[in-house]
Symmetry: D3
Subunit: 242 residues, 6 copies
């Protein structure tokens, strides 16, 4: 089984901090390739970043299907362009935010998400409402740490831990969902400190992708219809081969 | 008062069929400029189109604010990149799908949307859930007419009318929301045929924008936070000046 | 365009404090007549007041339609008898509470209403549930200032401001909706003090009424059916001409 | 125990058809007095009727408390002015629509209401949303029989039966709630014909009132606050002693 | 009328503390028999207890119907096996948790439940979601007093009172529902101390059962279908006569 | 990794038809042991069966943890006693109904469940509401085939297929969830016939259990609290070692 993990930003440096964690998380006999994009914002932290990342993300997703991968992981907890990618390809597509929530929903009644910035929290709240999970999500908190500062793992971990504890003590959370896949390197530390399950969205998305491939299930094309062919105007889009 | 209406696709031909309707809809003393984009899909009909249109739409939105417009209308019933545009600018931003729903919510208990394609319907359903309006929207139907075929107004109008009647008779709709701003030219015909209010999303968005300007209200920057500055990689984005 | 604004209480003194604000809020070329009722409680602050105000409000609404007005505004944030008035007349009817909520729903994710008394808050909460907006309204607070004390604008403004700040800081409100049209005179002051949009319900209802007239839209008579003719017993009702 | 049942319309003829059914429904040792109002519409079938009935209904409710009754029943399935009556008095107040829904919620998962006219159905739907019971109510149907035609029991019963059967077969109803207390005389016939429980709202409200008295429970005055004293202007209101 | 109250635990000592309260609560002419089970946990405080109690509870419920009782009360606020009992028998079955919530829903907008342990609270929260009452229930609190310690009434009452006050002051509760039928002996004390209605679930369930019998209503067998006959394996089940 | 799959009924014959499917579904390096219970109903089809199965299911779950299994699968789409099992053990517990829904929620917007009998459908609907997934589940249908008749695979498959097609065509389902783990042998046939994903609950629960073990995640003990120790009365419970 071959799975393509697409980190939808354009930071090689960020990629370098994540690859090993993804490889370790892969199942027996699962080949995992982890890439970031060649173009786009260097991190995804809000609605503007999400709106910019669409074209290069679609380019890589289409390529992954053409290269014969069995599944695609969109490795970002904001689930950017997830509907679009599923419209575009037929192989299973999991997305870190959605996968982490689905995992958490089976682990406790009340879920809290702890993400990086308030901008990010707002996009994640949009997704939670889109999925109609708001009745089970008791809060979306943010540690006020930009994605690219997550590499200062000690300080970042402390800030995330502080919000996670508030989620548990003040919001009644039974399960913590990390709201950024860049938190993967500090997930184990957080799990050690906290008495409730801590879901790493990057790992949840990879594991779910593997399960779908094993079950020979992909997203419903009745829901995610293949888009009608149409002209796309503009040199930039031509450059992308779109 | 000057309002910039951005039709977020790259079809000059489509633009030509819409400009007059928008000008007629403008209030006394309101200057309306209607543009489409220089790049992007020639029509917006689903998730893929929405994911592609982000960068050129943001470019035009930022420009509109810099040019001193008092408000921006995103003239598409799928509300593409609306959160992103609101993060980016401080002037009021209305969006056709959201504005039409807000208008319809004051006109009757049960709303149906009639849009162009099933792909489009799915994106609109996502938005309705994101706004938490699903308890008041009884159905989202589609006429199975691509956006660019809406200019064959007779055939298009018949197909839309047929679905609107089903929405009223079978789904119990009290109000019909047209689910594509390209339906503006047939809106008057549809209103004549139907005994319930028919909301034209292009007009609803323009009218709401004017009202916001008059009330000196804009979207909450506490909700739509100005994005942190960051590097955006790639020649395409450089071309766009992003 | 001629719009009749009906303040549904029987206080000429209160009326006097409001007329100018409404006139200022009217659009270009819009004639606005503002009246209060000849009978009824001198202010509307809870369920009992709402139950008493029905007959004189219906009398004035019917009269407004007969006089050829283009739209009616029910100038009270509790939306008293709004369904009844819409059943009775065919011209557009906006109501201050509903109009303010519809406006606010387009400005931010989480709305708080700040009204006068707890009794009033309870009626407004009923309305929010009736409209199924509870998922977007994070709190309904009250300043504990009776309607007729709003004319002591300084003290009233301070009390409202205090609750609005709590709504923002403790409840996470992105937008403040003033929960009484009598707060119109202090709305500008509140907007100056607060970093989030403050929606004046009186102005929202007037602006929406103008927009509906311009769009040639009125409420759905499929939803608000014209009532069957029937005998109404009693001298009081005869006096009212009902 | 003494209970005052107030039928909130002004038809002595209608009253005559209902009194016996209420007396039969009373529990051991319960004195029931059934009245209608001296003023108001002769039947309650929609929002306008509801808006008119407020003042005379409040008059009788206050009187009932002063006369020492132990509880008040508002004998109408639209629950007119129920909040107002509860604000006004301290003795328990049940209302036929609410009481019937509460009873039905314990008898099956999915409830359908069958009422008289579409106007009535719309008001009942408002109430269901206000109570947040919409997830359990699968439909509100109407037999298209005006209240005062219910005395033609055969024809009325057939029409109600037809809608109740559709509610069961098409909407999946487990329980039928009669949506008008004037249906009390045909309730036994309907129960014989239908395989699911049929809840008579008049009886449900009376039985609940008795239970509350026995349990020494009344509505929460924290929720239904006693209204502030205030001037009520107008000869009509003076006539009513308000 | 004869009603069988089944306390679904196996503690004769607990039974002894409750019988008198139930008898006092019975209506005129109502014969009440109160039993506990011969087997099972000595108290019901969470999911495990609920899962164990099924067989002996079904045995007693079937017996009660065979003995000619008019109704069954499941005297536990966790509503254990309520669906099962209703499938098994045709006579009305009320359950203390459900009955108390239905009663409370008619007394105020916002309900809080105060129960014994956190385990119990979790099961009650499950039920509230199953009934779709979560929009009206503002909190489920627990006094951290095991069921069998409720007989130390002073200490127990203090702990319950403390949580009830928090429910009112911090959660905005209008009505308190006691979340354990073992709290019946302290209900009167709590009602004296608190300014809002306090619903005793044991009494609510008994009163509702009486009302259903009087109304000749039972649960819908369309919803609670009689189970298909089938083999049950195992000596234990044979011992129970299942 | 060792996983214990507990089919919570007492039919060795049924077990024999399922074991092979479970073994085939297991991942690389995963040891799967599939058992049924020694006592209880021979199939689980409604609330009564669910209420009876608690004690023997808890016995086997506790034993599985003591035997050192890494996870437990409750192999029934009604999710019987799932809360209880999670309270009792610390190793991850997945349940077929819940796991299938979580899987399906990532594959399309609208889910339909197709189960065996109407009794079963009612229990599954309870669960869907308990999980607050009702906004995403468009229908729960039943093929009217008892569990033990599923071995007549042709007839059963036809009946299930017919309901699944109605779910797609009439209810708008994007994804079909099989509502009984006994449907596992016909799942492949159904998937061949249908154009939308078909989720086999037995496989979904096993796959999810494996993923949780790999992620070192288990259910939150803050949500599923270890039950307090207490006396359990009765020879039957003693026989079970409870």
């Amino acid at each position: 089984m071959r799975i393509k993990i697409i980190i939808p930003n354009a930071s090689k440096a960020f990629l370098a901090t994540q690859v090993e964690k993804r490889r370790q998380a892969a199942g027996l006999g699962v080949d995992v390739d982890v890439i970031c994009l060649n173009e786009g914002p260097v991190s995804l932290e809000g609605g503007v970043d999400e709106a910019l990342i669409g074209p290069p993300l679609l380019v890589e997703a289409r390529k992954a299907e053409q290269e014969g991968y069995d599944a695609i992981v969109i490795d970002c907890a904001m689930d950017p362009a997830t509907r679009a990618v599923r419209e575009l390809v037929n192989i299973p597509v999991t997305s870190a935010g959605e996968a982490a929530l689905l995992c958490a929903l089976g682990l406790g009644d009340r879920i809290s998400v702890v993400t990086v910035l308030e901008n990010t929290a707002r996009v994640i709240e949009d997704r939670i409402r889109t999925y109609e999970f708001q009745g089970r999500v008791t809060s979306v908190r943010f540690a006020d740490v930009p994605v690219l500062d997550l590499e200062h793992t000690d300080r970042a971990a402390e800030a995330i831990l502080r919000e996670a504890r508030k989620a548990i003590d003040e919001d009644g959370a039974d399960v913590i969902v990390l709201g950024c896949t860049g938190m993967s390197p500090v997930a184990a530390f957080l799990q050690q400190q906290l008495e409730v399950p801590v879901v790493d969205p990057a790992v949840a998305a990879l594991t779910l992708a593997e399960s779908l491939v094993r079950m020979r299930l992909s997203h419903s094309k009745k829901c995610y219809l293949t888009p009608p062919k149409k002209e796309i105007v503009g040199k930039q889009f031509k450059d992308w081969g779109l």
